[in-house]
Each structure stands twice: as C-alpha cells, then as structure tokens.
Symmetry: C2
C-alpha cells in the first residue's frame, strides 16, 4: 500500500487534484478503462477546420478519478490545453476518424468504455490540399459535409464489448434526447448535460448531470447537482462501478 501511495504522489500534480477530492479508495483496481475526451478537429484545408466546444475537462477529470481509484486508464484525447493526469496513458488524436481507430484498438482490452469526447458529427466531404483562396467573386461559400462515424455507437455494436457509457450535451429537452440516444446507440449508461446553463458545461470547471441507465426494458436515473467536475467524476465512477458489478454475463458476448 505504501508503494502504491508513493507512486500516486505526483511531482507536478494537475490542478484537478484538489484537496476537496476524497482520499483514494482503490475500488477500481482490476479494471481497464478507455476514455475519449476533448473535441475533434475536422480539417477543411491546411488552415481551416470545423470543431465543437469542449475543453476536455470532464473527460480528464474522469481519467484522473479512475486512475486514482486504481484502474488502468487509456485516455484518447482530441486537441486540448490540459496536462495528462498522473498514471494515465494518453493517446492524442485530431479527427473523429482517428479517434474511432484509437478507440477500436483500445477496447479489445477494455472492461469499460466512456465516450466523453465532443466528436464532430460531420467532416468535409473533401479536404483541400492547399489553403482555399477567397476571391472577390465569391461572396458565399458552400461546404458539403458528410457524417462522421458515431464512435460510441460503433463501440456499443461490437461483440464482445466493454460496458459502454456515453455523454449527451443538449440545449433543450435534455432527458428526452438523452433517453433516445441511450437506446438508439445501444449504450449501457448516458451522462446528460444541459449546456445552455450559464457557468456549467463546456469550458467551465463545474457541471451538473443527469445519469440514465438501462434496467431491463426501461431506464433508471440519478440527478447530480451542480458541482466541480472533479467530484462529479467520482459520482459517475461510483454509478459505473455499480452497473459493472451487476452487469449480466450475457452482455459480454
């Protein structure tokens, strides 16, 4: 235990290791967890891209919480300005296609997959090799975008597959859209955020969430009030551990 504690003492601790985080309970020791975090950037040409708002803070807080609780964590990260949490293996990617490839590689050896990244839904149909030049003749520009792979749905469709947790960022009808997404994408649990609330969600240090998970043919839920993303991460880990412990053996095939 002393060795484990020493190896957890970071020399340059990320700021997320705040004193208000509960002391480490290593209740996830045997688990292999893969987490996606941050946005993806979809190139339009060498200088322009399409993206989503995502600081990566929630995914990084989850990676830190799982690692602190003893899990073997692989963090697949889009472009963010965050330090890698202690004892976390980080894989950097840029586009949704790269993120899917990294996730598919990682989940063959994962017990739990958490898709927390704000993956761009669409990418450019064609990526220009050179910078698109604007000309005075063209006052408008029409971009044709094609759908990106849905990473969480792709992972949930695999067999065997890990326990799959997704995220939903919505600006209205949060519970309805989240429940629909949980079922349609075949996830085990979804963490839904109302990103229209000031001071919460994208870029913020605090967040609130509604957890929804499948119970038989229906769903059960738990509302987590606004709190720092670090403590919210621990509450999400608690729920995932409970679901994982009660997971039907058939779900593995």
């Amino acid at each position: 235990a002393l060795v484990a504690e020493l190896s957890m003492a970071p020399e340059d601790a990320p700021s997320s290791t705040a004193p208000d985080v509960a002391p480490a309970v290593r209740d996830a020791e045997a688990l292999r967890v893969t987490i996606t975090a941050g946005p993806t950037h979809e190139a339009l040409d060498p200088v322009r891209y399409l993206s989503n708002h995502s600081s990566g803070k929630m995914g990084y807080a989850l990676a830190e919480a799982w690692a602190r609780r003893g899990a073997k964590v692989r963090l697949i990260s889009g472009p963010v300005a965050l330090a890698t949490p202690t004892d976390v293996e980080r894989v950097d990617v840029t586009s949704a296609s790269e993120m899917l490839a990294a996730a598919e590689h990682a989940v063959t050896e994962s017990d739990i997959f958490i898709g927390c990244a704000a993956v761009a839904d669409y990418r450019a149909e064609t990526v220009a090799e050179h910078k698109l030049k604007k000309t005075d003749a063209s006052e408008t520009l029409t971009l044709t975008l094609v759908k990106n792979p849905d990473i969480v749905a792709e992972i949930a469709a695999r067999s065997p597959r890990p326990l799959v947790v997704g995220f939903a960022a919505e600006t209205r009808d949060v519970e309805r859209y989240a429940r629909d997404k949980l079922t349609r994408k075949g996830m085990d649990m979804i963490v839904a955020n109302d990103v229209s609330q000031a001071g919460l969600g994208f870029g913020a240090d605090d967040n609130a969430a509604l957890l929804l998970w499948r119970v038989g043919d229906g769903t059960d839920s738990q509302a987590l009030p606004p709190q720092p993303k670090t403590t919210l991460a621990d509450a999400i880990v608690d729920r995932v551990l409970t679901l994982y412990a009660h997971r039907a053996p058939t779900a593995h095939d």
Copy 2:
C-alpha cells in the same frame, strides 16, 4: 527608470520572457500599438464552430516585445490558451465581427496596428439557436457560409489611420500571394509565413518570415530565418519602428 523597471518585473512571468531575449531597450516608449492575435471562432450553433489553426503565440510574442520596449499595447485576442503578457491590456473576443469592432474602437488611438490574428474568412449565413440534430435521413449537410469582414483591409481603409501591418499564412507561392495582399489591402507592411514547413508556424514555438513593405510604387523585403517566435517578434518590431520613423506625414490623413 527604476520605477519603470520595477513595474516591468513580473511576479508570474510568461514563459515567453525567456533568458535569450535581449535586454529591454525602451525604444517604443511613446507608441500606442494595437495587435490582434489568435484564431476566431464562428458559431454554427451553440456547440459547433468553424475556426483556423492559430495558437496565438506569434501575436502574444509581438505584444510582449512591444510592451518590453515601452509601447502601450492593446492585445485583441481570439480564444487561445496563453497567459496575458506583462503590461499588456488584453481584450478577449470570439468572432471576426467582434474582433473588427474591438479593432475599430482601438485604432482611433493607435499609432500602429498589427493584424496577426488568423481571422476566419467565412462565417455561417445563419447561426442556429439550438444544437443542430443529425438525423439518419441526412447523410450530408450543406453549410452556406458568407464572407467575414477583412479586418486589416478595413483598418487600412480608414482615415486617419495607424501604420498597418498584416500577416499572410500561405502554403505555396508565399511571396506572390503576400505581395498581392500587401497592395490589395492597402497595408504598409506584411509578414509572410510558409505554414507548410514542418515545425514552423501554427502552434510551433519557432517561425520564419519574409517581411515585405512598400517603397514608393514598389516593395522592399527582408527574409528572417527560422528562429523562436520571441526573437522573431523583436526583428519585426525593429522593422516596424524603422518604417514608422520614415512614414510620410501624408499617410496620417
């Protein structure tokens, strides 16, 4: 001078205040300099946006160099993950329209304007109030974009106007495109980068540049070899100070 030096001693110096930067020569003391830096984000809906690659490092290095040399610096910054340099007044903006408004406000009291931001050329014709939902029916999405204001050209067209310096990031035919841009937008000087070179330009700490400026009906130029953006900033400040000293009085009206 002692008071000035004390006020320049930062308690939390940005990393750009590296030891290899030459000691401060306060040769820009009477000048008011406005600099734009970073990318702009053009919202498509509450969660998606269009952007350009730009870390803001070059613009921040310029702000730091001008401030160190005594200028009164206003830095109009798009979304970046950089600390504000010491003695620099920073104004945060998101979109090109916001950046133009801040620049127009600032230049009424500026001697020098440096447009270093990677401003998005286009924005969405309409911004959706709620998150666009993808449906299985739509495998492609067509976006109609409209031209953004050209901030450097707008500032250069004002009367009276400051000395105007622009930037050009190109992936080919760098000198040709830069010379065309210098003339067409009515700038006094342009700093041209070849962003296709590995390890230079967007996101990198080093950069090389070709400076082009107007001399009568023609142009003169100076090539600056690859070097840290901090020392490159001082070389650009040197050239701008020379141009400003020789500026024809008529250029002010």
